[in-house]
C-alpha cells in the first residue's frame, strides 16, 4: 500500500476542489494534504486568498442605518410597508410619470395635427400633378430636345400627298374606311 508521501501531488483541480469544498476531496488526497508540505502550502495560499477576499469585502461594506431595516409590525401585518425614516419620497416618481404621460400626449396630438395638415398639401400636390400632366401632353419632349426639333412639325401638301394620295383620301372618306 503506498504511503502518503508516495501519493502523487494534488492537481490544480484537487486544490480548487479543496478550497471550494474540503469534503469533496478523496480520502487519499486528504491524507496526502495532511503530510505534503508543498501541497499544503499551495492549498493554504489559495484558501487564504479567498478568505481574505471575503474579509476585505466584509470590511468595506458601509454600516447600514438600522432604522431603515426595521421591523414595523403593525404596518406589515396590515399589508403596508410602513413609514421608514429616510425613505425616498415618492413624488419624483409621480412627477416622472406625469411628465412621461404629458410627453406621450403631446406626441400623439402632434401626430394628429400633422396628419390634418397633410390634407392641404395633398390637394395642392394633386393640382401640381395635373398641371404637369397637361404640360407634358403639350411638350412631350424634354426641354433639351426642344431646340433640336421644331416646336410644331409642319407637313407640307406634297408630303401629305405622298403619304395619302388624294383619290384614296376621297375614297376612304366616302366608304368610311381606307382601302389599301
Amino acid at each position: 500500500m503506498p504511503t502518503s508521501h508516495s501519493l502523487p501531488h494534488l492537481t490544480e483541480k484537487d486544490l480548487i476542489h479543496a478550497v471550494s469544498d474540503r469534503q469533496s476531496l478523496s480520502a487519499e488526497a486528504k491524507q496526502h494534504l495532511a503530510v505534503c508540505m508543498s501541497c499544503r502550502s499551495a492549498y493554504a495560499n489559495l484558501a487564504l486568498d479567498l478568505k481574505r477576499l471575503g474579509d476585505v469585502a466584509r470590511d468595506l461594506v458601509p454600516q447600514a442605518d438600522p432604522s431603515r431595516i426595521a421591523w414595523s409590525g403593525s404596518a406589515w401585518r396590515h399589508g403596508t410597508r410602513g413609514c421608514r425614516r429616510g425613505q425616498r419620497p415618492r413624488w419624483p416618481r409621480l412627477a416622472w410619470g406625469v411628465l412621461t404621460f404629458a410627453v406621450l400626449l403631446l406626441l400623439l396630438v402632434g401626430r394628429g395635427s400633422e396628419r390634418g395638415d397633410t390634407r392641404l398639401p395633398d390637394a395642392t400636390r394633386e393640382g401640381r400633378f395635373l398641371a404637369e400632366v397637361a404640360y407634358l401632353s403639350e411638350n412631350p419632349l424634354p426641354p433639351s430636345f426642344e431646340n433640336i426639333v421644331p416646336e410644331t412639325v409642319l407637313l407640307d401638301d406634297a408630303f401629305m400627298e405622298f403619304l395619302v394620295p388624294v383619290g384614296q383620301s376621297e375614297q376612304s372618306s366616302s366608304t368610311g374606311y381606307l382601302v389599301s
Binding site: 490544480e12 471550494s20 469544498d21 486568498d49 468595506l60 458601509p62 442605518d65 431603515r68 421591523w71 425616498r88
Partner: protein
C-alpha cells in the same frame, strides 16, 4: 450566524414562533440575519441606500411568506434565496429604467461616493477601497452569471455548498462545477489576487 447545535435549536424555535404569528420572534430573526442580508445585497448592488431598501423588502417578503416555509431548520437559505431573487428583480427593473432612461440621479450610489459616509471603513484608504471594488467588479463582470453568483455566495457571503444549492435551487454537483470554474479564473486574476496579497501580506 449561529451554527452551533444550541443556536440552531433556538433559531428553529424562533422560526416556529414567527410562523405562528409572533411579531417579536420575527423581529428577533430580523435582528439576527439583518447584517448578513444587508451585506449580501450590498455586494450585489454596491449602494448603501439601495441595499437598505432591498433588505427591508426582503424581510417584508419573508414575513408575508413565512407560513410557506416547510423546513424550519432551513430558514437561512430560504431567506437568502428571497434576497438573491429580490436583487435580481431590482436589477431587472433597473435595466428597464436604463433602457428608457428613467433613472433618478440619486439611484446609483457607487463606491466612489463612500468617502462622504459618516463612518467610513478605517482599514484602508479610499483609493485602495475603490481599487479593490473596481477589480472585484471587473473580475465578476467577466464571469458568466451562474459562476459569479456561486462565487459570491461561497467566498463573500461565505455559505456552504449545500446552502448555495438551496439558495439557487440547483444540485450540489452543479454548484461545485460552477465554483471550480470561477476559482480557476480567480487564480489567474492577477490584479485582484496581487491586490489582496499586497494589502494584507504587508501587515
Amino acid at each position: 450566524m449561529a451554527r452551533t447545535e444550541e443556536g440552531s435549536l433556538q433559531l428553529e424555535e424562533t422560526v416556529l414562533r414567527a410562523k405562528a404569528g409572533d411579531g417579536q420572534a420575527f423581529e428577533a430573526l430580523m435582528k439576527h440575519y439583518q447584517d448578513a442580508v444587508y451585506r449580501m445585497i450590498f455586494y450585489r448592488v454596491r449602494s448603501r441606500t439601495d441595499a437598505e431598501d432591498l433588505s427591508q423588502e426582503v424581510f417584508l417578503k419573508a414575513f408575508r411568506n413565512i407560513s410557506h416555509l416547510k423546513n424550519n431548520q432551513r430558514f437561512a437559505p430560504w431567506l437568502f434565496r428571497i434576497a438573491v431573487n429580490q436583487v435580481r428583480d431590482s436589477q431587472r427593473k433597473q435595466r428597464l429604467r436604463l433602457m428608457f432612461r428613467w433613472v433618478f440621479l440619486d439611484d446609483p450610489e457607487d463606491v466612489e461616493s463612500w468617502g462622504e459616509l459618516p463612518d467610513p471603513p478605517q482599514a484602508l484608504t479610499n483609493l485602495a477601497r475603490q481599487d479593490f471594488w473596481r477589480d472585484l467588479k471587473a473580475f465578476l463582470a467577466r464571469l458568466p452569471p451562474m459562476e459569479k453568483e456561486v462565487f459570491v455566495l461561497r467566498f463573500l457571503d461565505q455559505l456552504e455548498i449545500k446552502e448555495i444549492a438551496e439558495v439557487l435551487d440547483r444540485r450540489e454537483g452543479t454548484i461545485k462545477t460552477h465554483l471550480y470554474r470561477a476559482v480557476k479564473k480567480f487564480r489567474n486574476e492577477s490584479s485582484l489576487l496581487r491586490w489582496v496579497r499586497e494589502e494584507f501580506h504587508a501587515d
